[in-house]
């Protein structure tokens, strides 16, 4: 590094100035952060300018999730700035979350000055060591001469290929030191060549296989969202051309419109009956931008046993990782779909109409099971009903949804329907409780006029409740819609189904009064306790201009169905109303 510097006309700046200039040249407008000793020079530069908007969070984990929400809802890179030591370690959960869900982040961490590294200095930690396994790449800047190039390279790596978080650890002396700046010319890195176009022979083979299918299903994932809005458009076009059914992972919701008749709903552990049965019985599976996650596959040796599998993924390490595929295509989803559609049209591929019509009939039979159905009550609010009402009353608005993690997250995925990509911010891979509120804040920063709702559980939301202060400080009108059942609901459900109803530490003994809590933060609190008042209360929430905590008091012991119990196959799903004690093998119990 540094070699290219000499060829350029350079102006000397301090490291901190280089950081700010690089952010500007990368088109960054918002940065989430929390100051501390080791980043003071950078904060000083932030003070001196007026184009970069810094959002002060209340905990560095909040900064990371806010940057994730910002990135997920815009397709841009999220940026955060934290101090050394605890600042960096607090951000680790968010970095890991971003790595698991392939979210582009650049995280700038302060570090103790170079000469103190390794001396156990105040607020020192081995940031690059700690974050190595939870980032796509990371840097410790040892010379100010390398800083500008590292800054630009970090953005390139975070946003290209399979996106992910990148950490830049900058010692305090480097922030003061004068050094050269370079503009973000086309950064290229010899050892890093992310794939783009898929192999055409593979795409042709896939097109033939798709055309010959009798029981096909599209299984799509977060890769479609990451490939940009154009990928969603191309997906819609291709799925429309084939007339085949389509399902999606949690991360891929919105890439295909939920109102379309070809849509089967989400698949997986809490997916719909029709989606999972179609996956199990299909003869050709078309995986586009999903990774055969264990929430999707269930028991691996019984996963879709009779299908030929096509897998489009930008990451070669996702191919054949857990499930063997017949036609692997490494490439960007948008490019592959573009080629696929062209080949499909050129070769005049046409599906077997009779077979596909029979297949749809079978699927219609599964749809009739109405696997998302639940027993309604007129005295107590059912959580599914609450999400349904929230959807009905907000669907005509410009709405973005984030969630925490647990039952409420699955109910949101099942009962809130998405027509467009980038509207759904949730922690899929890592399953991070406390994600939703800061993610909603990041989303609202990116879309100030939009309606942003965090569908939350009362346990999860408390994990980053301090971010209410951020929402109030920046007047971000996020709506926190808490399905309050006083339990860690998913833990309680597993304890009921798998541990003989021994509810070990899953009940929240001392919850705050969420209405008063909202008021204490300077926000609005609303509570609904019976179904009759729900619509009016939701409307009141939507009409409130500032941030709202909505305490939706729901039935305490509702389970989330359908459910594929751990260690079981897609066709062994349990549905609502079926006997609740499940026979799960010891092996199955050991799974998560």
């Amino acid at each position: 590094m540094g070699k290219r510097m000499s060829d350029q006309k350079t102006d000397q700046m301090t490291g901190a100035e280089i950081v700010i200039k690089a952010l500007k040249d990368q088109g960054v407008e918002h940065i989430f952060g929390y100051p501390g000793g080791a980043v003071l020079p950078i904060y000083d530069e932030i003070f001196k300018q007026d184009w970069l908007h810094h959002i002060l969070v209340r905990h560095e984990q909040g900064a990371a999730h806010a940057a994730e929400g910002y990135a997920r809802s815009t397709g841009k890179c999220g940026v955060l700035l934290v101090t050394s030591g605890p600042g960096a370690t607090n951000a680790v959960t968010g970095l890991t979350d971003a790595l698991m869900d392939s979210i582009p982040l650049v995280c700038i961490t302060g570090q103790v000055p170079t000469h103190l590294i390794g001396s156990d200095a105040f607020q020192e930690c081995d940031t690059v060591g700690i974050t190595r396994p939870c980032t796509k790449h990371n840097y410790l800047v040892k010379s100010v001469d390398d800083l500008a190039e590292i800054m630009h390279e970090a953005f390139y790596i975070a946003t290209s290929g399979r996106p992910g978080p990148v950490v830049i650890d900058i010692p305090k002396d480097i922030q003061f030191a004068p050094g050269p700046y370079m503009s973000p010319e086309k950064i290229s890195k010899a050892s890093y060549q992310p794939p783009k176009k898929g192999d055409l022979n593979g795409i042709r083979e896939a097109a033939e296989l798709i055309a010959s299918a009798k029981k096909p299903v599209f299984y799509t994932g977060g890769g479609v969202i990451n490939a940009g809005q154009v990928a969603s458009k191309l997906l819609r076009e291709f799925v429309g051309l084939t007339g085949y059914p389509i399902t999606s992972t949690l991360m891929g919701l919105g890439a295909f419109p939920a109102s379309d008749n070809q849509w089967l709903g989400m698949l997986g552990m809490h997916g719909t009956y029709e989606a999972n049965m179609a996956m199990h019985d299909c003869d050709v599976m078309i995986n586009i931008g999903a990774r055969f996650d264990d929430r999707i596959t269930g028991r691996l040796d019984a996963f879709s046993p009779n299908s030929k599998k096509i897998h489009v993924d930008i990451d070669p390490s996702s191919i054949n990782k857990t499930v063997h595929v017949d036609v692997p295509i490494v490439g960007d989803v948008a490019h592959v779909l573009e080629d696929m559609i062209r080949i499909w049209k050129e070769t005049a591929c046409s599906p077997d109409k009779q077979a596909i019509s029979d297949w749809w009939q079978e699927i219609e039979g599964w749809r009739k099971v109405n696997s998302l159905g639940f027993e309604q009550s007129d005295t107590i609010i059912k959580p599914q009903y609450a999400v349904q009402r929230l959807y009905e009353l907000s669907k005509d608005k410009d709405v973005y949804i984030s969630t925490e993690v647990g039952q409420h997250q699955m109910w949101a995925a099942q009962h809130f329907h998405f027509e467009e990509p980038n509207r759904w911010m949730t922690s899929g891979g890592l399953g991070t409780m406390g994600y939703g509120l800061p993610a909603a804040i990041g989303t609202q920063i990116a879309h100030p006029e939009a309606l942003v709702i965090d569908i939350a559980g009362e346990a999860s939301v408390l994990m980053n409740m301090q971010e209410m202060s951020t929402a109030v400080q920046y007047n971000l009108p996020v709506k926190i819609f808490i399905l309050n059942n006083e339990y860690m609901g998913m833990v309680r459900q597993w304890q009921q189904l798998l541990h003989g109803g021994r509810y070990s530490h899953s009940y929240s003994e001392a919850l705050p009064d969420f209405v008063k809590l909202a008021e204490a933060y300077g926000a609005t609190g609303i509570r609904a306790t019976n179904p009759g008042e729900l619509d009016e209360a939701i409307t009141q929430m939507l009409d409130t201009p500032g941030p709202v905590i909505f305490d939706c008091v729901v039935s305490k012991d509702e389970n989330c169905f359908p459910m594929i119990p751990s260690g079981k196959a897609h066709n062994e799903m349990i549905l609502a109303g079926e006997p609740a004690d499940v026979e799960v093998s010891e092996e199955g119990k050991a799974l998560v």
Binding site: P133, A190, S191, L300, D301, F303, N320
Partner: protein, 171 residues
């Protein structure tokens, strides 16, 4: 369909990396973090001007796991090439060992005799000890160490395997 019914085999991987800070930690962290085996690992800079190092790793796993290891290694940003020498080329594998043997009388004479038949070099000697330097395939060094055990073997230092493909092509 699961693919866990495949037999375990050893593979020698050559990994060409940018010689940047922490690159070895990235490679080793990948193996420990994902539960892969390392049977031998060697690393040294091979091109000072281009700042490239070469890591040679002997690992074992089912063919599916080996494929996964190669894909995961290639994903590391400063890794520029991964070659599976066991599959992609006929390769030469060599290891160097320093072996200290102490003894007197008949055992000392026998140790020297064995070392000659292995073409080991004596690189240090006292009246009651030798240090032998021996280069060869792993099995040859194993055999030498076994033979030295009853003759006063004190300690062994081995480099791990370095490997390169036969023929004119570079990796």
């Amino acid at each position: 369909m699961m693919m866990n019914d495949q037999s375990i085999e050893a593979h020698t991987l050559s990994v060409l990396v940018e010689n940047s800070a922490g690159v070895l930690a990235r490679v080793i962290g990948l193996f420990s973090g994902r539960g892969y085996n390392i049977e031998s690992l060697t690393v040294a800079e091979v091109d000072g001007e281009a700042h490239m190092s070469r890591i040679t790793i002997v690992t074992s796993g089912s063919p599916m796991v080996i494929e996964q290891i190669k894909a995961q290694l290639s994903r590391i940003v400063p890794v520029s090439r991964v070659t599976d020498l066991t599959v992609e080329a006929e390769a030469i594998e060599r290891e160097m060992a320093l072996v200290k043997v102490a003894g007197t009388g008949e055992k000392r004479v026998e140790a020297l005799r064995v070392s000659e038949s292995f073409r080991a070099r004596v690189v240090d000697t006292t009246h009651e000890s030798f240090v032998f330097e021996l280069t060869g395939a792993k099995t040859k060094i194993d055999a030498f160490v076994q033979l030295m055990r009853p003759l006063g073997l004190k300690e062994v230092s081995r480099t791990g395997i370095a490997a390169i493909a036969r023929g004119p092509e570079a990796m």
